[in-house]
Symmetry: C2
Subunit: 446 residues, 2 copies
């Protein structure tokens, strides 16, 4: 069966007739114009009137096919790619490992029927992002293929353990394609699970799938390959578009990053910290932070890959009832992160229940739904009372990062005093001791 | 008893000896320098070595008092202010109403013991923000005095009803000083509760209390007074610092605003929309949005002030368990707003429980924890399945606004079809039909 994922009806017939498949170079002649490129897969949600091809300049375009439009095969894909891989191997480029977990970047085609095409063999990657062939030799392994909203702490453990295996195999860096929905949570989890990593661990995603003309998949992959191969730092990072154009990607520290937009390509933003670096598709890496953990390929890393998933993240809102926290206590939750208001507050009527939780040895961590800024529970009475009750102030940690960290800590100890001490210790850049200037969102400017 | 709130020990004695109290003009002589200003109250958390005075240029300074420092009374406050009020009334300036609810802007002194000094009489306001005397005649009423984290939907009802009373009394505008923690929730609530208001309803707060040198209270109050008196729009808005300097305030639409920083003075930001206007302390108001509800002092407004507080806001995170939603169903909650991931997703293992909720006539609304952007549940399988289950997509509504709106709708109808229809109808600017260009946070720029 020829691979023609996403095409149907009239166009599917036309493509079948000339015996082409996804990845082949084709030529389209239309209104005396010639358009050449690689045939790309389509999303099932697309119409049956266009083919999508990747032009030589890297852009994808949709071309409307009418009955008089001519489509011809230019070059078969397979042979070319196989030859390419041989020649790439001969170049002795730095070796990196790619561990597939799923998400838009690794899936094209049909999200509706679940017929997801992993597209993570080296052949696929070289075919769709040919720029990589000049940068690295790639080994790929698909660990699982899930939507990132289905990622659980158990998946984090499996990814961390797989990374540890790969580190032993002496790669220059490791890339983890991941769905964007919960990529920041996984980045935080791996930052705690893998400490003092000798090489960069790079999470990368795409906000728009590779079969869409405006896809960010290629640039994000190219930039993350550069980071994996030669970045001076060895940390768990997220590499994603830094602007709505294709100019550069930003490298975000895994514990300080958050998806801040549902659809934009520059959705990922560093919060309460500068991004670690800028990386350009041409390979230029410019550091933005002076302090980082340097690449040291002989370093002994530490693997603590377990997470306790009996932790709840609870956002405060006016009218929230005590029964929500009561339930968490009654159902045997091991810890609670409160996404409070302002400097770290919760309604005073919850104080009694919060005290009960702490008496029952359930740690409560306070963070802020403001997202930017730092917890300071010494300013107002409510804060002081919560502190006195034993609530742990989350400093300038993101609520998401604090939740992941509490899950990680509780897998090691349930002792309240130890939990508090670890929670207040900066382990993987999640706590900035001082507020960095210029890291607040730029407000509306004329 | 002389009012000397916040002063203690050595300084309290010194101030008592010369028979001064808060609000008096005093002169301090120290190291051959003379400093003149109005004696301000202090926070109980301050030391006992400084007095805080408000200089003629509007800034507050703390002056260290040593045994050789001379303090003298220059002018008593009371007589002056009374005279002032008489003369202000004679000027026949536009009349505005101030309805006190509490918060930093209306409280100085001791947050620890709860001895909060309301400071909301016209005398207090004219004394501490003398700029107002040239703008408006003020009537003040303290409705209640609570920390905003303790605000509930029942409080929203009381505020809305009080505003309706005041509208009948023909004021030019109404100002509601409010704690900043949940000010955005109240702003959304009032936007739904009071429709087609004839005059502007202005919520205002302070990130730093008036007894701190860097307080934003004065500028925010001056700017909101200008808006109340003469803004061309008649909507529920939030007026707060627009930058970290004292240059201007921004006017945010009540349904599109959010506190985005725990401590900065420019914490409030419009999300997925431009601010409505810029207002400068000199009274200049510049519109940024072309469409708004204009001031029409004869308009018939509509008051629907009830809210159903049996609504939960639930933020998704990896590892979230079904039992959280199960509990909400079992405890008889009337509606749930999910703060999902990305374009509007929840883990697929929650699908069964979500279906059960909807079968039991509990509406589920989907919003995104990305904060910026729009829900689009048609792109991925998870979204499509949630839509098919009957989940209501929250468009580009803030999770906070969607929660308030669902509380407001459920106080009117429990019919699932009607709830869905109202939820998807733009009632108070909470849904932007098209994404406005330039409203995403500016990403990190060199």
């Amino acid at each position: 069966m020829k691979r023609l994922e996403g095409y149907r009806g009239f166009i599917l017939e036309r493509l079948r007739k000339i015996n082409v498949e996804i990845g082949d170079e084709i030529v389209i002649e239309k209104n005396n114009e010639i358009i050449e490129g690689i045939l790309m897969p389509r999303s099932m949600l697309g119409d049956d009137k266009h083919v999508v091809i990747k032009l030589r300049n890297g852009y994808n375009v949709g071309v409307k096919i009418e009955s008089e439009t001519i489509i011809r095969l230019k070059k078969k894909r397979k042979i070319k790619v196989e030859r390419k891989i041989e020649s790439i191997k001969k170049k002795a480029l730095p070796k990196i490992a790619i561990i597939g977990t799923g998400g838009t970047i690794a899936s094209r085609v049909d999200y509706k029927t679940g017929a997801v095409y992993p597209a993570l063999t080296p052949e696929d990657l070289y075919a769709f992002v040919p720029e990589i062939e000049g940068i690295a030799t790639i080994d790929t392994e698909t660990l699982f293929n899930i939507f990132s909203e289905d990622m659980t702490p158990q998946h984090w453990t499996r990814i961390a353990e797989k990374i540890a295996e790969k580190i032993e195999e002496e790669y220059k860096g490791i890339i983890i394609p991941h769905g964007t929905d919960t990529m920041a949570y996984t980045a935080a989890a791996l930052s705690f699970a893998l400490q003092r990593t000798p090489i960069p661990i790079v999470l990368v995603g795409a906000q728009r799938s590779s079969d869409r003309p405006s896809s960010d998949a290629a640039i994000n992959l190219i930039c993350s390959t550069h980071v994996a191969v030669k970045a001076p730092f060895a940390e768990v990072v997220v590499v994603m578009h830094g602007s709505s154009s294709d100019e550069y990607c930003l490298v975000h520290r895994g514990t300080k990053v958050r998806k801040c937009h549902t659809s934009r390509r520059d959705a990922f933003q560093s919060i309460n910290a500068k991004p670690l670096a800028i990386v350009k598709p041409n390979g230029k890496i410019e550091m933005l932070m002076e302090k980082y953990s340097p690449r040291r390929e002989d370093r002994e890393y530490e693997l603590k890959a377990k997470f306790d998933s009996k932790v709840a993240l609870l956002k405060m809102y006016p009218g929230i009832r005590e029964d929500l926290i009561e339930t968490l206590i009654d159902r045997g939750y091991h810890g609670i992160v409160i996404e409070g208001t302002g400097l770290g507050h919760a309604p005073s009527r919850l104080l009694k229940t919060i005290r009960r939780a702490i008496e029952e040895e359930i740690p409560i961590v306070m963070t802020s739904q403001c997202i930017w800024g730092r917890i300071n529970m010494n300013v107002y009475r409510t804060g002081v009372e919560l502190l006195n009750a034993g609530v742990i102030p989350g400093e300038d940690m993101l609520p998401e990062t604090a939740t992941v960290k509490l899950m990680w800590i509780l897998a090691q100890t349930r002792d309240l005093k130890e939990v508090r001490e670890l929670m207040l210790t900066n382990i993987a850049g999640e706590i900035n001791p001082r507020t960095t200037h210029g890291t607040y969102l730029k407000s509306w400017i004329r």
